[in-house]
């Protein structure tokens, strides 16, 4: 059952990519990609539920469906589905019909690589898949072929490839550390590494972990390795920004989580966690500083992604039941919310014809429905109740108090408040400041552009007031099996 679902989930985008190459008719490729994403989403929900009785291994153990993996799979599939709906509307606005098959082929392959990264059981293969996500998404980032997006793509591939090569170095050194325990040749699965970890040499394991953390941290966008992120997220088409932010970052964060459990088992958890917490706080700081003084609308969202990845890093770094539950819950909330924010940003960007916050004025009057949705999303993403992010951030704060990371909790609180004020101040300006009189009347948007915003906001609201029991059990199981936290 799970095997069939997993296979369907991976085949759908692969088949869609092939079909897009063959068909090439703009309206048809939209539909193909939409169907593939719906299949992925349809498979991801039962997989998340079924993974509780796992883990399931496939293909000689190269593929694994375990609980954290299935959770990330669910987050990614949701974003893929929402972004596919949105891209139907958004890509029509760009008026690049003849290149559309190209876009959807890359889009489907990108989704495939992101989904695959969540089920890779071999640390080496995981690295390869993460590298592939970079290569594919580079071409999506520079899809619009203007100087800015080429610049963003160049920075993206250089910074991320360099960063990720450190993760490769770390992976090799981890293999070495493992080979001193398990013998020269073994399958480098997460379980094997975790099993060998208690007898690993501590300095070598520390060196390896730090390299891996910096490497995958680059991909996650933890400051100070975040420099590619605002450029890539702001210059790619809006659905791709949502995928990069909502799906890809989680996929890389999963790797950090898996290595963190290995570090715990190796007895170097204290140092590993403190480093991760420090990266988290620094990401929040960078996010806060750049959010307050931001002038580009999509860059604002990108820095908010850095902030939220910092929050997830803090949750994982604090650890314990609450920390892990909060971090995983935050991943889902952030995926939903950031999709909503990028969709809204793409909409106003296209209708006002500018990326500058100063050029976007009077949103409340001109777009009553869509504007209200986007504003609600902005309130949600700054961590205000009654939305999901409030709940997950609260849980992470509590986790920090439990694990006596008081300094980090205080820093997080202060920075979240700064971000709340800074972020919403931009929205105040966009919604309630009047623009110049001669401002062009904005373009109206189709339902394709607004419907996914509804679809993202509703669950966010529900998750804010009701934490489903099944979800809590899922997190508890992950926390107890993966990192040995005691209930």
């Amino acid at each position: 059952m799970t095997g069939a679902l997993l296979l369907a989930m991976m085949t759908a985008p692969a088949a869609a990519a092939l079909a897009c190459i063959v068909v090439r008719r703009p309206r048809v490729v939209e539909l193909i990609n939409l169907i593939a994403s719906a299949i992925c989403f349809g498979c991801a929900v039962p997989l998340a539920a079924l993974s509780a009785s796992g883990p399931y291994h496939y293909w000689d153990g190269y593929i694994v469906l375990d609980m954290p993996g299935s959770w990330v799979l669910l987050c990614s599939a949701i974003v893929y589905f929402l972004a596919s709906i949105y891209s139907v509307g958004y890509m029509r606005l760009l008026g690049e019909d003849e290149k559309l098959w190209n876009f959807y082929t890359l889009f489907a392959v990108f989704a495939l690589t992101v989904l695959l990264s969540a089920v890779m059981n071999n640390a080496g293969l995981y690295w390869i898949v993460i590298e592939l996500t970079t290569l594919v998404s580079t071409f999506l980032v520079c899809f619009e072929r203007v100087a800015e997006s080429i610049e963003a793509a160049w920075k993206y591939i250089i910074v991320v490839s360099t960063g990720i090569s450190l993760a490769l170095l770390g992976t090799v050194l981890f293999y070495w550390a493992g080979s001193l325990v398990l013998g020269p040749t073994y399958d480098m699965t997460w379980d094997a590494l975790r099993g060998a970890a208690p007898s690993m040499n501590a300095p070598l394991a520390t060196l390896s972990f730090l390299l891996v953390l910096v490497g995958y941290g680059t991909k996650v966008g933890l400051a100070p390795m975040h420099t590619w992120l605002p450029d890539a997220h702001s210059e790619s088409p809006a659905p791709i920004s949502a995928m990069l932010s909502g799906a890809l970052l989680n996929g890389a964060m999963l790797g950090i989580f898996r290595y963190l459990t290995i570090a715990d088992a190796a007895g170097i958890g204290g140092l590993a966690r403190t480093t991760l917490v420090a990266f988290g706080v620094f990401s929040l700081l960078i996010g806060a500083l750049f959010i307050v003084r931001q002038s580009g609308i999509k860059r604002l969202m990108a820095y908010s992604s850095i902030e939220h990845m910092g929050v997830v890093a803090l949750g994982l770094g604090f650890g314990g039941l609450l920390g892990i539950a909060g971090a995983l819950y935050h991943m889902l909330n952030h995926s939903l919310n950031k999709s909503l924010m990028f969709f809204g940003a793409g909409n106003v960007m296209r209708s006002f014809g500018t990326k500058d916050i100063s050029g976007i004025r009077g949103v409340a009057d001109k777009f009553p429905v869509q504007g209200a949705l986007w504003l609600a999303g902005a309130v949600a993403i700054t961590g205000a109740p009654p939305f999901g992010l409030f709940l997950s951030e609260l849980v992470i704060l509590r986790a920090g108090l439990h694990q006596s990371y008081i300094w980090a909790v205080l820093a997080m609180l202060v920075l979240l408040i700064v971000i709340f004020i800074g972020f919403l101040n931009h929205f105040r300006a966009m919604y309630f400041n009047d623009g110049p009189d001669d401002m062009a009347q904005p373009r109206q948007l189709t339902a394709w552009c607004v419907a996914p915003m509804w679809l993202a906001l509703m669950p966010l609201l529900v998750l804010g007031v009701w934490w489903p029991a099944g979800m809590w059990d899922h997190f508890m199981a992950i926390a107890t099996t993966m990192s040995g936290a005691k209930p």
Binding site: L125, I128, I150, A152, I157, D187
Partner: protein, 226 residues
Amino acid sequence: MLIAHLDPLASSIFSLMAIASLVLAFVMLGSRWLNNYLYAFAAESWMIAVLSAVVGYYGEYPEFYLVAILTAFFRGLFLPYLVWRIIRRLNVAREIHEILQPSSALVVGAFCVIFALVVAYKVGGSLGLAGTVAVLALTVMLSMNLIGFLMLAVRHEALSQILGLLVLENGIFLGAQILVPGMPLFIEIVILFDLLIVVACFGVLVQYLVVHVGSTSSLELKRLVG
């Protein structure tokens, strides 16, 4: 483990190849001409290919002969050829934008090696491998990484950055072959192909850079800030 009981000849060949690669990394660091970079990189890849074959011979890993052939072909011939074609098409013969003079870069590179040596000694010492080829391999691996980073940081020509990245990965490759020869083969092959894709991507991107930005220097990439 291979490196723990190695006969002296093998150990000397390993050391020779590792050190030769490191020296070639310095050649790249000290040169201004893109063509020289490229020759040094190709030579370095050949060193690594020879190393693979030697590891395969002494460690009795027959599949390493395949890795050696692939390394020599892809990294020693095909990748340099691709980069050479880009160089010719772009008409950039030398690095003119460096932040650091090649001579100063050499000094900084030397400090990188010292740092790598200290780290390798510490790790090697704690594993009880002090004085073996493992420490040397780790040193070369880490210092080639650092030199790769240095090249990325102080050079601005797009091609130098690609080559910096390749040196970085060469270092990892070299270290991996000595330290973990048992690491499943297919990963190494996939990484070879992966590199090929990387360079293909870079090639395409460099073309775009010329067409849309009008330059291949990353100093011109300054639209996106803040």
